[in-house]
Amino acid sequence: MADTYKNSQVIKDPDDNYKTIGTRPIRHDGVDKVTGRAIYGNDVKLQGLIEGAILRSPVAHARILSIDTSVAEALPGVFAVATSADLPEAGDKIADLGEGPVNLAHLSANCLARDKVFYKGQAVAAVAASNVHVAREALELIEVEYEPLPVLTWVLDAMKEDAPILHEELRTNQMGKKGESPTNICDHLHFEQGDPDEAFEKAHLVVEKEFKTQTVHQGYIEPHVATAHWNQDGHLTIWASTQGSFSARDQTAETLALPTSKVKVIPCEIGGGFGGKIPIYLEPVAAVLSKKSGRPVKIQMTRDGVFEGTGPTPASFMRVKVGVDESGKITAAEAWLAYESGGFPGGVIGPGCMCVFSCYDIENARVDGFDVCVNKPWTKAYRAPGSTHVAFAIESVVDEIASRLEMDPIELRLLNAAKEGTKRVDGPVYPRIGLVETLEAAKNHDHYNAPLEGPWRGRGMASGFWFNIGLKSAVTAHVNNDGTVTLLEGSTDIGGTRTSIAMQLAETLGIAAEDINPKVADTDSVGYTDITGGSRVTFATGLAAIEAGKDIISQMKERAARLWECEPADVEFAEALFSRGDDSISFSDLCAKLSNTGGLITARASVDPQGFTNGFAVHICDVEVDPETGKVDILRYTALQDAGKAIHPSYVEGQLQGGSVQGIGWALNEEYLFDDEGKMLNPTMLDYRMPTALDVPMIDTVIIEVPNPSHPFGVRGVGEPPIIPPPPAIANAIKNATGLRMTELPMSPPRIFAALRNMENGSSGEQEL
């Protein structure tokens, strides 16, 4: 059961019989987005609007001795200047803001620094002026006196006993137990099952390797932007580019010590996020500038501000060791992982630890993970946060084992694949998952079996795992008398989710996707909805839409019963038709009669689903390495993924393709380059080299539908897994092409060139870290 659409294939669940789901309607916001009419954050125009700019720290670690803003304030055209003195003291409060805990003092100091700066680019002060040019002139007139402190730019240096300390009050947290002495290690996680030491002793073959990755940015094309209007009645309105309007509201309210009811966030169209637009940076700053000036204030970050002042994904050091028996069965595994959290505590080591061995069924395993402060930007979520790092390590080691055992790498993975009932090293046991199906599809795929000839060419593959989260979603649906439904939802739409949610309501009601009119509403106009992230929106907000659809059907059955003078329970509904015996009326005809049978109908649903599940991706790639330059070209690329059920296959393919290319960029080129003082050397899109259209081939996709038992249509999240396999798949292909085992990301031309030279000079083919 496969239908082929250009270079993509959907392997369907044979029991499917959907009308709308699985089709490819035009997205509802499409015309606005191809005509330039869609309103993004920087397109907001308001009466009396003025513009702001942010002063950022020129040094990576320093005490702030004084800030003098008087000259800047006197510049003509300047309306207001703000520093951390304008933000309330946050104290030591940890707020649970829906998606996770946040230390408010850190959140606030990251918006405007208090007594210290912890990385170059940290916001220190802000100006609002008649236009952005005047605001930037005023920034140069602000005098800040810094007392420089020693700078740490590498995780292993920051972990040393005698390392300078960033946060004097920081103590290592070990699952709730705090350490005793000052440190840069925020968290130490430790998991263990079975007896890994004994299992390694008995193993037939043990492979152990060390890996390094560099800081990488989400790279959304739209810079962060926020507009705030602090009204004289005390209400604050924020026009935001955010992945979560309620989260942005709650973070802003907490930072400003306002009740949430005083803050309204109006989500604009959002120009990419990938995790980076979950935290707030500008919202409270624009708010205090608005309060001081009495005018609405818009601040858009500069591109170097985005690179240096927002949260990338961490650099890391990893050591992974795996033991197997003669048959290739993995008997023992161990990982030691150190991730940089950046200037403040709280990075992505947790999911790193939980994902490292999550594609495998391993009886004896041990994981130690460390989250460590360094003088670099405060790291934040980036698509499957923490999982790409560990996949690079484990998938490279597994590939190495396959090659030493002379086994096919997919066969080795199938022998060890996690499946329903497999216990992960952090404890939980998998429900029905689709890794085996995805690996089988890869093994049978034309790409994997096609000949690949020519010198310096090689093929590699790798797997990746990510959680889907559930969290809270709410929708309101208004049934209109013309047979259409207006759907208000709170999930900001980054990649076509208005349509994937609307299609689930359409399927429930048996009507066309075009007859649903989905709107992303502001925080005063729809029920609480968590972030667009964690691959959750099509799953959880879709579930809310289905629930609202059921509510519509039950209310409309009452109306049909009124028409036919019977009991609602006697009315049946199927395929957009209400019926009782010989009586029947279509959904749209009944809509026309709502007005005089009790009024138009509003339905709503608020969900907090508990039964979310996991997603697996398997990628295959062919590369050609240029030995003269070290440049790697991707010749062919195939991304396979268990998607549960693809609601709108084009946008599922889009997730697979976009995630793959982000992963290719991470694998081959992208990295923050720092000097010894912690200054980023490449904060432009020319020098931070993301893939262009010319750098990548078409990305072929295979969607494998292994339904999620806890969603009525079987949906699993799909957004995050595709970024995970590319770095190891490409590393494995490079090994296959050259004999070189690259162990540091990115595998950029200078690194490959140097490693090739080393190998020529007689070293082992192992990249030196």
């Binding site: 263990e192 934040k380 046991v429």
Partner: protein
């Protein structure tokens, strides 16, 4: 009685035991019961009467978002794990 899996870093509270049993129809009751058997447990797991920031609880392999109000049945298997949201904010 529900089975509670104790992560290695919390096993000092249970005298090294990786798996303990506890009674209760809600996570709140289970935690109270554990506190009686293993004093100090509550302080490690909770903050301000909620599951502490950075920690999460999985009941029958589903990470609950209902905290102490989560339902538990006698056959439940409970794991204490780090919160996935680490780093989301």
């Amino acid at each position: 009685m529900a089975t509670v899996h104790i992560p290695p870093q919390m096993q000092e509270l249970t005298g090294g035991r990786a798996e303990v049993e506890a009674e209760g129809v809600s996570l709140r009751q289970v935690v109270s019961h554990l506190e009686t058997s293993y004093p100090g447990f509550k302080e490690r797991l909770l903050k301000d009467d909620m599951v502490a920031p950075g920690l999460a609880v999985s009941i029958d392999n589903v990470v609950t978002s209902r905290g102490l109000f989560a339902e538990v049945d006698p056959a439940s298997v409970i794991h204490i794990i780090p919160a996935i949201s680490g780093g989301l904010l």
